[in-house]
Amino acid sequence: MAGQTLYDKLWASHLVSSRDDGTSLIYIDRHLLHEVTSPQAFEGLRLADRRPWRIDANIATADHNVPTSLKERSAGIAGIEDNVSRIQVQTLDDNTTSFGIETFGINDVRQGIVHIIGPEQGATLPGMTVVCGDSHTATHGAFGALAHGIGTSEVEHVLATQCLIQRKMKNMQVRVEGQLGPHVTAKDIVLAIIGEIGTAGGTGCAIEFAGSAIRDLSMEGRMTICNMAIEAGARVGLVAVDDTTINYVKGRPFAPTPEQWDAAVESWRSLVSDDDAVFDKVVTLDAATIEPQVSWGTSPEMVVGIHDSVPDPSQATDDTTQRGITRALEYMGLHAGQKITDIQLDRVFIGSCTNARIEDLRAAAAVVEGRQVAGSIKQAMVVPGSGLVKRQAEQEGLDQVFRDAGFEWREAGCSMCLAMNADKLGAGEHCASTSNRNFEGRQGYGGRTHLVSPAMAAAAAIAGHFVDVREFVDTPAPARRVAGL
């Protein structure tokens, strides 16, 4: 008998029951809630007179709508100026209070983007099933956890039954072998993967990211990769457990107690695909050939290396693709053959559940230090992923590096990744963004998003246009150290 994949093992260990047609019930260990996709689920519970099955499995925080300016934030929920947003955040607070669900309020230092705070608190553990009404829940798969993004009906189902109705997915493995070049990051890996397999390349699959380049990544980097599994069409991204995983989890608030620790680690060691496991699909990439990536279009698969040019629709292989490229160029205000390094930028956003962890801010700060944001940039902002990331960055003096360079330093939240709060692009503006989606209107009506790594966004902010961070950092910055560093 062939061995099991990591996904097979996680599936088997959470399977409660199955129907003849393969429809199955799987048990959910952790449910993360936020303000946007939960109100209708709580309303549904109330209407049916149901109670949550297991309160301690749930953790809530507001992230999508929260303002990131200190002034607006300091007055708490009552200070949110947008009425509709305030009602939604207040509704989450009312619902979690009435059901007794642990909530990190908007000015709690533990507040932040759900996919950042789960791992940060140790609320995401290897071997768990994790769900959240947000497609970027795939992030938590970096811990060898089975993590699904779900809709609001499923949020209600999980609240009421502690289970999710699922069909088993196919197994896909994406292997990235070899060593990354300097200043090439996890974000570049995942964008290159999506460029290779397309936004539907992983549809119906759980993707396990493997290979030496993935093993060499920190947990932050692995989270960046799993986060964007959904942009490759896969609800689930996974990385096998190793020492990096276990060391990251140890000592966090929701991690196993010292008495439970050894048994937990022993159990987690089995969370790898067996050597003889069979995958339905395998894709291999050579890490050494991955260049810093920049998306040019309105789908994450519309991505190229920094030294490439915008594609020509007439070279497309079929009509639908050709129309897609033509429409994307029109929306983005770009022309076929335009060099990526010639794209001028209006705004720069460093943040989101993809790239707002401490390692991301360090990478961006290292590029920015001693330099100035270009005069042509209207706004460059850094939005830490959580209150704790913000505090850590401030302790390291990174906030000062950013401020000195002309960046705004904000409070934690989803912010301009999806522009549900006041942070948004104006029509026609180009943005270098460390977020995950470049869809039309995603960062603001008519806004034009280019997805990049934090280091590439930082370099673009300084240059005013895209630039290869590898050449950029080899040019010494003007000699100037920030006091206190």
Partner: protein, 215 residues
């Protein structure tokens, strides 16, 4: 949830691949705490020439005459014909809520994104996956034939075209059962599985107590 058994509906073609959920319902409308009322903002950025905001009266907004759903020949359509990877992107269930509220009951495409697919079935929408060549043919037929209607029969898992052709389709038995009966799956799970869930939970807690706080 509204049951779906059989319906003959006008078909509207949306000739664009990778239609994402941001396009189906833009983020500003996700601030609502209700489940209804999203129909007027379905495809907001394609349908109107201005930027929409929540709570607005859409009847006086400038419409984009080029957008397919604004063309009189597709008024009242209940079948949406789409291209591959329909519904990609975010998990927002507001997308199927908006499609259903607008009046769609059936979406036909060569492929759908996974989360959207799940969400749609929980809201009375029937999603039908057909091969690309068949979808191409339907696009041609719809374009050439004003008032083109398809008769969609869930029980028989068949689509009848005006030309007299019958096209079969697949649907999971459980999804079909819920949809044809308009069933809420939470009730089903609790009725059929409460005992199994409790038993599982007891074993799971004993094996991995660290997954349960206060255990």
């Amino acid at each position: 949830m509204k049951a779906f058994v059989r319906q003959k509906g006008l078909v509207a073609p949306l000739d664009r691949a990778n239609v994402d959920t941001d396009l189906i319902i833009p983020k500003q409308f996700l601030k609502s705490i209700k489940r209804t009322g999203f129909g007027p903002n379905l495809f907001d950025e394609l349908r109107y020439l201005d930027e929409g905001y929540p709570g607005q009266d859409c009847s006086n907004r400038p419409i984009n005459p080029d957008f397919v759903l604004n063309q009189p020949r597709y008024e009242g359509a209940s079948v949406l014909l789409a291209r591959k990877n329909f519904g990609c992107g975010s998990s927002r269930e507001h997308a199927p809520w908006a499609l259903e509220d607008f009046g769609f009951r059936v979406i036909i495409a060569p492929s759908f994104a996974d989360i959207f697919f799940n969400n749609a079935f929980k809201n009375g929408l029937l999603l039908i996956q057909l091969d690309e060549a068949t979808v191409d043919r339907l696009f041609d037929a719809v374009e050439q034939t004003p008032g083109y209607r398809l008769d969609v029969d869930l029980i028989e898992q068949k689509i009848m075209t005006p030309e007299g052709e019958t096209i079969g389709f697949e649907v999971d038995a459980f999804r079909k059962y819920c949809l044809e009966n308009g069933l809420d799956d939470i009730g089903l799970t609790l009725t059929d599985n409460s005992h199994a869930i409790r038993e599982f939970e007891t074993r799971h807690r004993a094996a991995q107590p660290w997954l349960f706080r206060g255990a």
